[in-house]
């Protein structure tokens, strides 16, 4: 049996699991066994995810090995017809069009499939620990798992779809699940609000994507990748409309990937349970926008469009640069550990957009090699970021969970505790943490590895890809006449340093120093299941170097290349020389890129962390010991903290800081747009409908009643009047007849 024949099960199994979980959950709600062994559905979900992961692995291995053997090709499986119809074209004839569902496997989708299925499985395991041990979730975890598996189905479906319609369909399903899961604690007004906001904001993007797809259908008569990516078809299409289409689709991607200016939903989305944040809002769904933009590649590559679509590419890079910088800046001042990660996510996704923008720019201008490089780097960063960020979120979840438990514990031990206090304590506030490195060693290590990857500490996961992106952006400025590319290029460069600062800040505030609260001092890392994914992902993150060695980025960038284990050492060497010495493809050192590279490394590895250490670092409390792998960092930070004291109160109290705390007022603007304009307008419309349109109808009614009264008052009751009226009527009759005859 071919793996591709079973591939359809990858999205279908979770979809089928959802009603099963929900139904059983509703049926056995409260049942002890259901809670125990079945984990309120968690077991089923995990099992399904495991099966799906194995299936995906099978598929991926098959794909990779087929390529390695040189007979690889993009696999397109046609699953079935959905709807068929006829189209009426301008030439006056009709053609039959079929919309079917099929699956396409190429390097990018295989990579994303791996990311998705792997993380889904891990996070599902994480949830077993995280969700089921919190009594807030009691008796409704089946809802969580049901929605969780549905989401996974959406992600798998989107990745596998062989046409844009199905991509869009699963895209929307993910949006729905995002909504449902953010609003998991629907009773919290903030969660309910955040869910709505997330859905609406992404939907604004979605409709643009939708319109883009309409244009695509009009231009190509199909949504199938095979048809749409055909260079001849692209050549036949109207360039202006293609441009519009790409722009519209990009807006959709902006919404989904929380880029400026549709980014406002992502920080609020942290209202959802932490596994949700990890899965949807860091590792998978937000990558959908990137995936979509990556899928646009053939349009830019088409000969007919050469040089036509530079604006679009530039815009993509620009949005990326702006978002990266902005999000990093906002992350400076966040106290909530998940919010920091959320902004970090935004910022890192923006990196990838910049990289993709550069790739598209290159390919549109005919520099295929540079394009493939940039593209590969972007996709690689996507991979790295997904792994790291998924782990970071889970780690933060671990922290929060244990904080919460500790708080709970303390509360129970204290008699006469004021219940209101419960609400004041924020388990996510980093000001309540500190010194956790010793109490939660696994989490601390995992978080350190993840942060390093995000920061781009050399040789660790994110480094490989980030360097490529920054380099590509600058290459676009330097070598390809992309004058305006200077803006995103500078922005991503600066952001590299800022990333170093805020990620370190988060880590130090949480794990270094002395416990800032009593709760933090009593935290224990005891919850089952949580460490499994953390450990796994730590290795995954640190293993970035392996992937780099496999020429993973190149593989992602160019569909014709293949992964080969045998060439790994030489590749690794190649990668290292390229990364650190800025060797071009011809083996020549590029001095400018070299400067950029080392600036980046300096900023992100040295300057950012240094400032963070000086401001937030500190030694652990006496008697507390951290694991050796991180102990030195804490010690270093304590040194720096005590040696270099920066007075940042000017910054902290400045207007800029206030603005950053208020997220640059975007939320306020959007809210006031809604509340001051749209809602009043709709009330006015409702009033108009009731008073004017329906008023006409009511007016007819009252008017006719009035007329009725008037007419009937002519029937005076006096027979004389009747006769007179009759006589007058006769006269009128005569006049009428006279007039005509």
């Amino acid at each position: 049996m071919e793996a591709s024949e079973l591939a359809i099960l990858i999205p279908v199994l979770p979809i089928l699991a959802m009603p099963v979980i929900l139904f059983l959950g509703q049926l056995f709600n409260g049942n002890a066994k259901w809670k125990g062994f079945w984990k309120e559905g968690g077991t089923i979900a995990t099992a399904v995810m495991a099966i799906v992961f194995l299936l995906s692995l099978w598929l991926i291995v098959g794909h990779v090995s087929a390529f390695s053997e040189g007979n690889g090709d993009d696999v397109v499986t046609d699953v079935g017809n959905w709807v068929s119809y006829q189209l009426f074209t301008e030439h006056g004839d009709m053609k039959v069009q079929e919309l079917g569902f099929g699956m396409q496997l190429d390097h990018v989708s295989v990579m994303l499939l791996f990311v998705a299925s792997f993380l889904c499985l891990l996070i599902c395991i994480f949830s077993l620990g995280y969700m089921n041990t919190d009594e807030v979730n009691e008796n409704r975890n089946h809802r969580f798992y049901g929605e969780f598996v549905l989401f996974c189905a959406g992600m798998f479906g989107m990745v596998l779809a062989d046409n844009f319609l199905w991509l869009f369909i699963f895209w929307e399903i993910m949006g729905l699940c995002s909504y449902l899961l953010i609003g998991f604690y629907y009773e919290r007004p903030s969660a309910s609000y955040a869910a709505k906001k997330a859905f609406l904001t992404t939907r604004v993007g979605d409709i643009f994507l939708f319109v883009g797809l309409l244009i695509m259908h009009a231009e190509f008569g199909s949504w199938d990748f095979a048809v749409v990516f055909n260079a001849a078809n692209i050549g036949a299409a109207d360039a202006g409309l293609i441009k519009a289409m790409l722009l519209l689709m990009f807006i959709g991607a902006v919404g989904k990937s929380a880029q400026f200016p549709l980014h406002v939903w992502l920080p609020d989305a942290m209202e959802g349970p932490t596994p949700v944040s990890a899965l949807i809002h860091a590792a998978t769904m937000v990558n959908a926008g990137l995936y979509l933009v990556a899928r646009m590649f053939p349009f830019f590559a088409a000969p007919a469009m050469a040089g036509e679509l530079g604006d679009v590419a530039l815009l993509i890079a620009m949005i990326g640069g702006i978002t990266a910088f902005m999000a990093a800046a906002i992350a400076f001042v966040q106290k909530d550990i998940k919010k920091v990660l959320a902004y970090s996510t935004m910022s890192q996704l923006a990196y990838i957009f910049t990289g993709l923008g550069a790739a598209l720019w290159f390919v549109n201008n005919g520099h295929d090699e540079l394009a493939f490089f940039a593209f590969g780097a972007s996709m690689f960063h996507l991979f790295n970021h997904a792994m790291a960020k998924g782990m970071l979120f889970m780690a933060s979840g671990s922290v929060i969970h244990e904080m919460h438990h500790a708080h709970h514990h303390l509360e129970q031990s204290e008699d006469g505790h004021d219940e209101d206090d419960d609400h004041h304590f924020d388990a996510q506030d980093m000001d309540n943490m500190g010194g956790l490195a010793s109490r939660m060693p696994i989490t601390a290590i995992a978080m350190a590895a993840g942060s390093a990857s995000i920061i781009g500490i050399p040789l660790i996961g994110g480094f490989w890809s980030k360097e490529g992106i920054v380099g590509s952006a600058w290459k676009a400025v330097m070598y390809d006449g992309g004058g305006l590319f200077i803006i995103p290029a500078i922005l991503v460069l600066l952001t590299a340093g800022m990333t170093g600062f805020y990620m370190s800040r988060m880590w130090f505030m949480t794990f270094a120093g002395k416990p800032k609260t009593e709760v933090a001092a009593n935290v224990e890392e005891t919850t089952p299941f949580i460490p499994i994914p953390l450990v796994t992902l730590t290795f995954m993150t640190l293993g970035g170097i392996l992937f780099a060695g496999l020429n993973f980025a190149g593989w992602l960038g160019e569909n014709s290349t293949h992964l080969s284990l045998s060439h790994a050492p030489s590749h690794l060497w190649h990668e290292i020389t390229h990364a650190f010495l800025a060797l071009g493809s011809d083996g020549q050192m590029d001095p400018f890129i070299l400067i950029i590279t080392w600036t980046t490394i300096l900023l992100s590895m040295v300057i950012g962390p240094f400032y963070a250490m000086s401001l937030y670092g500190g030694k652990l409390a006496k008697g507390q010991k951290a694991h050796w792998s991180i102990a030195w960092i804490i010690t270093l930070s304590g040194r720096i903290h005590s040696t270099y004291k920066f007075d940042n109160s000017i910054w902290a109290e400045s207007g800029l800081s206030t603005a950053l705390r208020n997220r640059l007022y975007f939320d306020q603007w959007y809210d006031s747009l809604m509340l001051k304009i749209v809602v009043p307008f709709s009330y006015a419309a409702a009033w108009f409908d009731r008073r004017i349109i329906d008023g006409v109808i009511k007016g007819i009614e009252t008017g006719s009643q009035e007329a009725s009264r008037n007419i009937r008052s002519l029937t005076t009751g006096s027979a004389r009047d009747y006769i007179m009226m009759a006589a007058l009527g006769t006269l009128a009759l005569f006049l009428l007849i006279w007039g005509v005859a």
Binding site: R712, T715, T716, G717, S718, A719, R720, I723, M724, A727
Partner: protein, 100 residues
């Protein structure tokens, strides 16, 4: 012989008086009389027509019309009487229970 048009002219005159009387007078009896005047105008017309066309049917019509007028008066008076017994008036303006 009088020209038939004079007769008809008298008829027009009577008709006008009758119609005028019918909607100006309040007393039901007088209204009834006015209606009789109209019917008399009709009779005159029939007579005039009969004379003009030399046609006997006009005379027959007249005879019938007189009979009808008589019946009408009889019925009218009977109804007025009934009205009087209930409303104690025969003024048409005072009988206005049914209106609108």
């Amino acid at each position: 012989m009088i020209d038939p048009s004079w007769v008809a002219g008298l008829g027009v005159f009577l008709f006008c008086i009758g119609l005028w009387g019918a909607f100006t007078r309040k007393n039901a009896i007088i209204v009834l009389m006015s209606i009789e005047l109209i019917l008399n105008a009709v009779n005159l017309n029939f007579i005039a027509g009969a004379a003009q066309h030399g046609d006997a049917t006009g005379w027959v019509y007249t005879a019938f019309a007189i009979a009808i007028a008589a019946a009408e008066v009889a019925i009218g008076l009977a109804i007025f009487l009934a009205m009087y017994s209930q409303h104690e008036t025969i003024s048409l303006d005072e009988v206005k229970l049914l209106k609108h």
